[in-house]
Amino acid sequence: MLNQHSLLALTACLLCTDSFAQAPPNQVVQTAQTAVTAASTDAKAIMTAVESRDKANRVKSTLLLKIIDKGGRTRERTMRSWAMETGASERQLMVFDSPADVQGTSLLSIDHDDSKKDDDQWLYLPSLKKSTRISSGDKSGSFMGTDLTYSDMTRSATSDYEYTMVKQSISVGKGDGAEDCWLIEARPVTQKAKDETGYVKSRLWVSKSKLLPVQIKAWVREGRKLKFIKFDDLKLVGGHWMAHKISARTTRSREVLSTTIIQFADVSADNADVNDGFFDQNAQWWTR
């Protein structure tokens, strides 16, 4: 089930949907690099703010995945995840708890902020009793058989995309949970981004109050498919918004090819024990 590149720290997904501290609607929201308001119309500035926002750190969580294929057959996975931002890199560890054939399989990933450096990743397979260095490889491939890809899980460089404002204001959700959003279209302009995402273009519904995407629709080049990703159950964890449920559907000609539901449980941030020693690749306590 596991190939070398498909395992990725899904916590990145969690991180990509979190936000800086809660801000009321229409208030100026500011990040380290830029400031935007609900009236902002510069799509690139908004996406730069989304990508550079502060985020939760030293995060622990449990993930439950359900993959439903076209025929309605389901597969389920559970795993534990830890993530930490060090300033120079993002460290993530995932350990699978079920199903039984992959229990104990783990992936340690060190994603360097310096894009010139290759990421460091070690995959531990308990059946082989071996922890081996792997390449992140094909980032457009499916993550663990889900509807998400490696590139869906990682932050993207805004310089790799061209952004267009499609709608200045659009509401997503119902009742009290409705979010006022910008609708922004992103097109990869570099070959690297085209290859890594596998998308011709994507549309993002970005919450104005939380400055994070709550929906993404992507045009998948391979097979001319559409992918719909939705972030639900947004909760504050350690002062940061986090989606606790992610749904992804892949469709073609209005036919649903597969659906993935990812639910987060036991999420906590700022855990003191999630530190440098925890991710020590030489100790690899999780393999013992």
């Binding site: 089930m1 596991l2 190939n3 070398q4 590149h5 498909s6 439950l64 359900k66 993959i67 294929d69 389920e76 559970t78 708890d97 079920s98 199903p99 039984a100 054939d101 229990q103 060190i110 360097h112 290759d118 460091d120 990743q121 070690w122 059946s127 082989l128 009793k129 260095r133 792997i134 390449s135 992140s136 490889g137 094909d138 457009s140 491939g141 499916s142 663990m144 058989g145 929906q215 045009w219 080049r221 391979e222 001319r224 719909f228 939705k230 749904s247 559907r249 469709t251 209005r254 649903v256 597969s258 659906t259 539901i261 639910q263 449980a265 020693g277 030489n282 100790a283 306590w285 013992r288």
Partner: protein
Amino acid sequence: MGRAVLVASILFLATPLAAQTEDADWGDDQDEFGFADTPDIDLSAQPTLTALQLKGFLRSRAGFWLNRLDEDPISTLRQSLDLDGLYKGTGWRVVLGGHFEYDGAYELDESRYDDATLASYRARYFPREQYVAFQTAFIDVKFGRQTVAWGEGDVFSPLDIVNPRDLREPGLADLDDIRLSILATQLGVVSAVGRFELIATHEGYFGEQPSPLSEYSPLAQVLRANDLASTFLDDRTVRYKHTQARYGLESGNIVARWLLKAEGFDLGLYYGWLRDRQGVVVLPEGFELLDGLLDAGVSVNDLAGFPESIDLELDHRRYSLTGASISFVTGSFVAKSEWLMEFDKAYNTGRVSASIPTIDIDTMTLLTGMAGVTYSGFSETTVSLEAQQSYPLSGGTNALFPVSAFQTAARVSKSYLRERLRLDVAATAMGLKAQYGWLMRGGLAYELVDALKLTALYVHYGAGTASTVGPFNGLKTHDQLWLQIRWDFQIL
């Protein structure tokens, strides 16, 4: 063979490339039906990990000899059960595992097999890991039966020196079945400059080989080289007997490794003072007299007084080694390499093509290098290549086995249907022109439901053309098709 792998690779890779297009005119920009709500996952129904864990898997396998479908079609009917228990306390843990197997194919026509073959293949129990371990943040100690995977290579890993191997069915066993646990004490120390491991093994267990007269034995053809020998062996059993006692201070090994997993690369340094896993064949005293007997026109009846059980002695002589390993990533490539020098390593000399084999023992100093690369830049695909070459620096002449044969291995893995279906094609060859034999296998695994997998595996052997004995020697009618179903379960 290489061409077949290449063609297969192109076929696997061509599909997604051909389907690519830059045209984005599909899907209505306003159509958002895909955002419809999904049901919540019931968190309370999920399994929770406890201090005591018990899991395992059941496996049923049926195999067919493709070259002998008319006369002798069944190669294996194996049922196996693996059980693993783990209890984790604070700073300590106990692991207890075992593997049981029974192969019904050896009941079908029992008289075809000698006793050693039946003992080796019919019903077996192998202890898996069975140890107690204590650990702090920087030190861990483990005592008991252990499995330790060293080295960087996937197919060739000459530095993977700790555990004996199960080589009863060359090229057929699953990778996770090959290493056999060994009684050992392990000390691990973690520091800022890597991890140091010191392991002392406490038993002379050299693994499982095909019994000398079994289907997979490279010696079977040699031992049955002429009609007289073949008739003589029909009523006898031939088994390996190890010179070294199973337990005893003299039987163990001492091995050590320092491994640094750093930014951009992994580097390991190795040392071993150990007994040769393969061993050298020691012919029984007076064996050379057989040649004279044959010349004198001896018949099978004249040999009736010979014992029914013949021991073929394997002497696992001690030698030492030092080595280094490295692996690093560049883009979608992972490069791996191992280098080692083995000192005073015993090897067999002589020839087996004579009516009576002439076999002697000598020692050599052997330098071995392995290099490999894995590429995972294609969609859902991994391609890997490995090559290994040994150079005798002293000795190594007139070797009975091809000690310096160039070895290559290639593998392509591709998953489909969101990793529900997986295709693996692999090939390995000994010798630049595969003159010492080669093997190709292709497997298709389909996950019916979570943790229940159906696999079809095809294996083709090339016996090679050289007169020197290689691992696939004599495997001329051994192509097989296997069907396997495996169910992994968790009790606690």
